[in-house]
Every structure is written in structure tokens, then in C-alpha cells.
């Protein structure tokens, strides 16, 4: 009698694969908009063709540019003027400390941000003339010289004080790029910074209240509270998170989220940190997986040999 098993197996496998293809790759392809990565090139922003001078940049940052009126620069000995929740009440969100802005953000993006924040951040839809609202970060109209040169100088200064790219940990990248709007509770992160451990319940509640106040300001500024990112790497996936950072409008049209403006290298670090929160066991999964596969193949081979031996007498 002819052995029908290969044919039957083929039928079972083909029908299973067709079903899988239709409900997984195909259905998700239809349901979700596909956004190509632009590799963090920021092609819409003008190239930075002037060579910046860090010394002049420093003068501008603390002087005519008036950056330090709102921003702290901890590494240069300029601490924040007020507590984060107070700053958020004034500006909607706590203006970032600029210590590492020069390494986390793309230089083209930074220069544009100085000259025209709403445009660089791709949030012009929120600050139209009809809305009557102004972006909380004031535009820099120049200190009397060539504005492009002045912006380049300031960028050069920010780069000169920042950490080197390889010294930036995934955590630092995340805190700079996302951490003032998004909490990450599984990593103990709030929009105000890391939550300390309190011995006294009263101190803890006082801290929590400050966070709630901060969140209220943020909610008023953004329209709703930006989500906690603890599990985002599992709920959205790497590609979505990466393209969203690059250009939030491409994934979520009309969103209040500003363009993050990080370099490609920093985007990878941000994603690494999100994996450290939402997919901590990925390395163990790989190694345990390999061992289990090796074992199960041996198991199957022994089962096959046993079957062959038992069935030798049956034919």
C-alpha cells in the first residue's frame, strides 16, 4: 500500500500556513499603516553649513540667546531655577537640562529648534494664529549677526559640554529624549525624574503629589497625559517606536507629540532602554531557547529510533 503520510502532512501544513499568513502578516499589513524609516536624516531641515565656535556659542547661550533663562545646564554649574512641577506649571513641561542636548539631538534639528521651535518639533498645527497659542520656547531672532552662524555657535557649545556618544547609556538617552513627558514605572521613572525610596510614607505622598501636579500641567499642555512607556516595546514594537520618534505625525496624524529629534545612534539607545523595561529577559530567552531546541531534537531522534525498532516486527 502506498504511504499517504507525506501527502497528508503536506495538506495539513499548507492549510495551516495559509491560515497563519492570512490572520497574521496579511491582516496586520492591511490594518496598520506602513511607515518607512527615514534613518533619522531629517531631510526636511536645512543642512548646517556654518562651522560653529563653541566659545562664542557659550556667550550666546548664557547671554543674548537667553537659553539659561529657562534651561538649566548642570554640567556648566547652572542648576534649575525651580522645581520640575513648578516649571511644568509655567511652561507646560519642564524645560530640559541642556547638559547632554548636544549629543542626544541631531545638530540640524538643534539649530532649527533654536531658530523656530514649533517647526523643528513639527507641532505647528498646535500653535496656529487661530489658536492664539505660542510655543513656550521663544524663537531666537538673532543677536545682531548672521543668525545661522549664531545658531551653529550655540550648537557647537552644546556639543562641547555634552558626554561623548559612547558614554551615553540607554537610560540617559531615554531620560533626555522621552523622560520629561513619559513615565516608565517599571524602571521607577516619573516625569519628575527617578522616584527615590522613601522611609516615611508622608514624604512619599508629598513626592507623588508633586508628580500629579506635574502631570496636570502636562495634561493641559499636551491634551492628554502621555502614556507610561514601561511595556511599549511589546505593545507597539521596535519599528513603530523608532519611526514615531523620527516623525510622530507619520504614525499618528495630528498628535500633540513633538518630533524627538534624536540622532540614529541615540534612537537605538532609547529603544534599548525600552527593552530593558519591557523585555528584560530577551537574552535569556535566546539562550534557553537554543538549549531547549537542542534537547527536543535529541528527544525526537530517540523517539524516531524507538518507533522504528518497535515497528520492525509489525510489517
Amino acid at each position: 500500500m502506498k504511504n499517504k503520510e507525506p501527502l497528508i502532512l503536506a495538506v495539513v501544513v499548507i492549510f495551516s500556513l495559509i491560515t497563519y499568513y492570512l490572520v497574521e502578516p496579511y491582516a496586520h499589513h492591511v490594518m496598520h499603516k506602513h511607515v518607512e524609516s527615514e534613518h533619522f536624516a531629517y531631510a526636511d531641515l536645512p543642512a548646517l553649513d556654518k562651522t560653529g565656535d563653541a566659545t562664542r556659542g557659550q556667550e550666546l547661550v548664557v547671554g543674548a540667546g537667553a537659553c539659561t533663562g529657562c534651561h538649566s545646564i548642570e554640567v556648566a554649574g547652572m542648576p534649575a531655577a525651580m522645581e520640575p512641577q513648578m516649571a511644568a506649571a509655567s511652561y507646560g513641561v519642564n524645560p530640559p537640562d541642556l547638559s547632554n542636548a548636544g549629543v542626544v539631538y541631531d545638530e540640524k534639528f538643534l539649530a532649527q529648534l533654536i531658530k523656530n521651535p514649533a517647526h523643528a518639533l513639527k507641532v505647528e498645527h498646535k500653535f496656529t494664529e487661530e489658536s492664539g497659542k505660542m510655543h513656550p520656547m521663544a524663537q531666537f531672532f538673532g543677536a545682531g549677526g548672521d543668525i545661522d552662524q549664531e545658531a551653529a555657535d550655540m550648537v557647537a557649545y552644546l556639543k562641547s559640554i555634552a558626554l561623548k556618544a559612547e558614554e551615553v547609556t540607554p537610560k540617559i538617552a531615554f531620560e533626555n529624549a522621552c523622560g520629561r513627558c513619559h513615565a516608565m514605572s517599571y524602571e521607577n521613572w516619573t516625569q519628575m525624574g527617578e522616584k527615590p525610596s522613601f522611609k516615611d510614607k508622608k514624604d512619599e505622598l508629598a513626592f507623588d503629589i508633586k508628580v500629579l501636579e506635574y502631570q496636570d500641567s502636562l495634561k493641559a499642555y499636551m491634551g492628554k497625559l502621555p502614556p507610561d512607556l514601561s511595556m511599549y516595546i511589546r505593545s507597539r514594537g521596535e519599528h513603530f517606536v523608532s519611526t514615531l520618534m523620527e516623525n510622530p505625525q507619520s504614525q499618528l496624524e495630528g498628535t500633540a507629540m513633538p518630533r524627538v529629534g534624536v540622532t540614529a545612534e541615540m534612537a537605538e539607545k532609547v529603544i534599548e532602554h525600552m527593552k530593558d523595561s519591557g523585555d528584560t529577559k530577551r537574552a535569556e530567552r535566546e539562550s534557553v531557547g537554543m538549549n531547549v531546541m537542542i534537547y527536543i531534537i535529541i528527544f525526537a531522534i530517540f523517539a524516531l529510533l524507538w518507533k522504528k525498532q518497535v515497528w520492525r516486527d509489525l510489517h
Binding site: 499517504k4 497574521e24 511595556m231 519591557g278 518507533k307
Partner: protein, 404 residues
């Protein structure tokens, strides 16, 4: 009272009290299996192994899971996935097995339909099997509630709303099922109870019934041949192993079961470690939010076909069609009027009926997931009608089937 003698060995002691030799014969060495079967007959063992994996992984998840609306999501995604050593492994095994078990159930079911293994004394096997399908569906659904993510919450909302009965507006019934106006604490705790206690108990009982119903009629074979098991068994026991048409369940068929299980487990663990996304939907990694429905909401893949039968119609007709789809498979032994217990390929029109049914269920499954817009909506509608028509036609096309 039975007569007991001083035992000569532990085995003898047990034998006098439990008749283990006899049980071993009835269940293992003299449980005769036709030789004329293929690997599809090993799906029962594959299901047993998958169920065992679900049970063991479930026990470890149960040690850390917290059935509380405030902590459930955290206990799953933080405690189990990050804190507990190998907690992630139990969750992945549990989630993937819960999905794959349905693939095997469907293969098992369609094997039965193809070879006519629900006829002539095997009706109870079919009915208990379909009851197991219902119990597994309830188990899968209640388990899906437990991580308390967005999909858990909204699936809970939508499925319990089915019980309002459309125009009947039985909202009281829906609230009774939920224990609240919306899925909330009472809902989560009772579905937790159903998932870890009541339904597993029912499944264990039904598995016993399913196995018991199989023992006397014996398993079918791939040619629909009527085998005289007593005669063939004598032949086997007399030493003519090769000439007999039957073999022992253990170790003869068991060795093949294990071979199939081995190959299956390679596939299974590949999914557990590298391709688990299909069984652990990304949307469910967002915590439940009763004020925001996800953009795309769909059941797990194994419910899609019946979901699609509900979707294209207006609410009342949809619910009736849905109810029809849930019960109709159980009635198969009585809807099939044919006198033949042979593979479908030798049954004329029934062969066409079988393949159309299978393909149509896959189409329904695909349309159930795709957004109900444009062409997908129309295909879904036609498929749903076809499904119902096929079942209505079944008694007529089988009634006139010639005896082969």
C-alpha cells in the same frame, strides 16, 4: 467479600486490590489499534501533551498572578515577566500552548470529519469531543481576561454583551454575568475562578468521557475497514505480529505517538521562543482602559470564523447565525444520513462538501480579522451564508449517497 491472600510481591499486593494487570491490558497492551492509520491518529496524544504543558505552566503562573484589577497587569507583566525566575517561560509556554492547542483541535476535528469517525457507535466520541471544544473555548476566553490588558477588557466587554440577545435587551443577564455594569473587579475574579477551577474540572471530566467513549468502538482507520478486533488480536498474540491487522496501543502505537509528539514539540518550542507574537497580541500589553477602545479589536484566531458569522448580519440575525454556528458541529452524526463510514474522498458529493467547508472556514477566519470594510465585508457575508447553507444541505446530499 473478595478473597485476599498474603501478597508475594508489591505488584501482587496491588494486583489483588487494584487489578493493575487487568487495567494495564485493557488500557495499554491489549487495547488494540488498527495498523491501517496515519499520523493524524496521534493528534490525541499531541493534545494530551499540550494540555499537560498548559497545566504545568498554569500552576506556576498561578503562584504569582493577582486577580485584582489594580494589580493584575502588573503581576503579569512585571512580577511574572521580569521578577520571577523563568516566569517569562511559563507565560510564553502557556500563551503559545493555548493558541496551538486549537490548531491541533481543529486538525483532530477535521480528521474525524474526513474519515467519518463520528458514525456507527462513535457518536459519543464526537459529542464529547465537541463538548471539549466548547470547554476549551471557555477556558481560552476566561484566560484571556486575566492579564487585564486592553484586549482582555474589550473582549470581555464585547463577548459578554452577546448575551444581551440583541433586541431582547437582556441587559440584566449581561450585568449578572459581569457582576457589574462593566467588566470590573467582580468580573475579573469570577473569570479567574472559572479559568483555574471550574472549567479545568469540567475539561478533566470530559477528557475521561472522551477516552471512555473510544474504548469500546475502538479507533477508526483510514480506509473505513470494519475490523474484527477479537480475531486479529488472537492472531497478534499467537505471534503473527506482521500478519495481524491490529497492534497494541502500548508500546506499538505509543512509539509512533511519541515520534509525532517529538516532531510537534520542535515546532511548538520554536514558536515559544521565537515566534510567539501570534499568540500574545501586542495590544494586550497596554493596560486595560475602560474609556478607550483599541483601533482594531478582534478575537484570537481560533474564534475568528464564528465571530465572522456574527459580523455581517444585523444584530438579531447575527446572533442567531452565531448560535447556529456554535451548536451545529455537535449535530454532525445525525445530520450526516449516509450509511458509509469511509474517507470523504470515496463519498462523492460529501468530498466536495468537506473541502468547501474547510476552505470556507479559513476564509471566514481571515475575514474575521481583517477590518470589516469594502470587499472584505462582502466576502465575509457570502462566506457566512455559504456556511449556513452547507449545513442545511448536508442531510440531503448524504441521504442519497450510495453504499460503498
Amino acid at each position: 467479600m473478595a478473597h485476599f491472600t498474603k501478597a508475594t510481591s508489591v505488584k501482587d499486593w496491588l494486583n489483588q486490590r487494584l487489578a493493575i494487570d487487568k487495567v494495564e491490558k485493557v488500557m495499554m497492551s491489549e487495547y488494540w489499534i488498527p495498523k491501517n492509520i496515519n499520523f493524524l491518529w496521534a493528534m490525541g496524544m499531541v493534545l494530551v501533551i499540550t494540555f499537560a504543558l498548559l497545566l504545568v505552566s498554569g500552576i506556576f503562573l498561578l503562584m504569582y498572578y493577582q486577580p485584582n484589577v489594580d494589580t493584575a497587569f502588573y503581576s503579569v507583566n512585571y512580577t511574572i515577566m521580569r521578577d520571577v525566575d523563568f516566569g517569562w517561560l511559563w507565560r510564553h509556554v502557556h500563551g503559545v500552548a493555548a493558541s496551538v492547542v486549537f490548531l491541533i483541535i481543529y486538525i483532530h476535528m477535521f480528521t474525524g470529519i474526513y474519515y467519518g469517525s463520528y458514525k456507527k457507535g462513535r457518536e459519543l466520541i464526537w459529542v464529547s469531543g465537541m463538548l471539549l471544544f466548547v470547554a476549551f473555548s471557555a477556558e481560552a476566553f476566561s484566560g484571556y481576561m486575566l492579564p487585564w490588558g486592553q484586549m482582555s477588557y474589550w473582549a470581555g466587554m464585547v463577548i459578554t454583551n452577546l448575551f444581551s440577545g440583541g433586541s431582547l435587551h437582556a441587559d440584566g443577564l449581561v450585568e449578572w454575568i459581569r457582576g457589574d455594569y462593566v467588566p470590573a473587579q467582580a468580573f475579573l475574579t469570577r473569570f479567574f475562578m472559572l479559568h483555574v477551577l471550574l472549567i479545568p474540572l469540567a475539561i478533566l471530566g470530559l477528557i475521561g468521557l472522551h477516552f471512555g467513549a473510544l474504548r469500546i468502538p475502538h479507533v477508526n482507520n483510514q480506509e473505513g475497514e470494519e475490523i474484527d478486533f477479537d480475531k486479529e488480536a488472537k492472531k497478534y498474540l499467537a505471534g503473527d505480529k506482521a500478519g495481524s491487522k491490529v497492534m497494541r496501543f502500548a508500546n506499538d502505537f505509543m512509539s509512533k505517538d511519541m515520534m509525532v509528539v517529538g516532531i510537534y514539540l520542535i515546532f511548538f518550542f520554536y514558536l515559544v521562543f521565537w515566534n510567539y507574537g501570534f499568540a500574545m497580541d501586542a495590544v494586550n500589553f497596554d493596560p486595560a482602559d475602560g474609556l478607550k477602545t483599541p483601533a482594531h479589536i478582534y478575537p484570537e484566531w481560533y474564534f475568528l470564523w464564528s465571530y465572522e458569522i456574527l459580523r455581517p448580519f444585523s444584530i438579531d440575525i447575527g446572533l442567531i447565525a452565531f448560535a447556529f454556528a456554535q451548536v451545529i458541529f455537535v449535530l454532525l452524526p445525525w445530520l450526516d444520513r449516509s450509511p458509509n463510514t469511509v474517507p470523504a474522498n470515496r463519498r462523492g458529493l460529501f468530498a466536495i462538501w468537506f473541502w468547501v467547508m474547510l476552505v470556507n472556514l479559513i476564509v471566514l477566519t481571515a475575514m474575521g480579522k481583517l477590518p470589516p470594510e469594502g470587499i472584505f465585508s462582502q466576502i465575509g457575508f457570502v462566506s457566512a451564508i455559504l456556511f449556513i447553507v452547507q449545513w442545511l444541505m448536508l442531510p440531503f446530499i448524504t441521504m442519497f449517497e450510495k453504499k460503498v
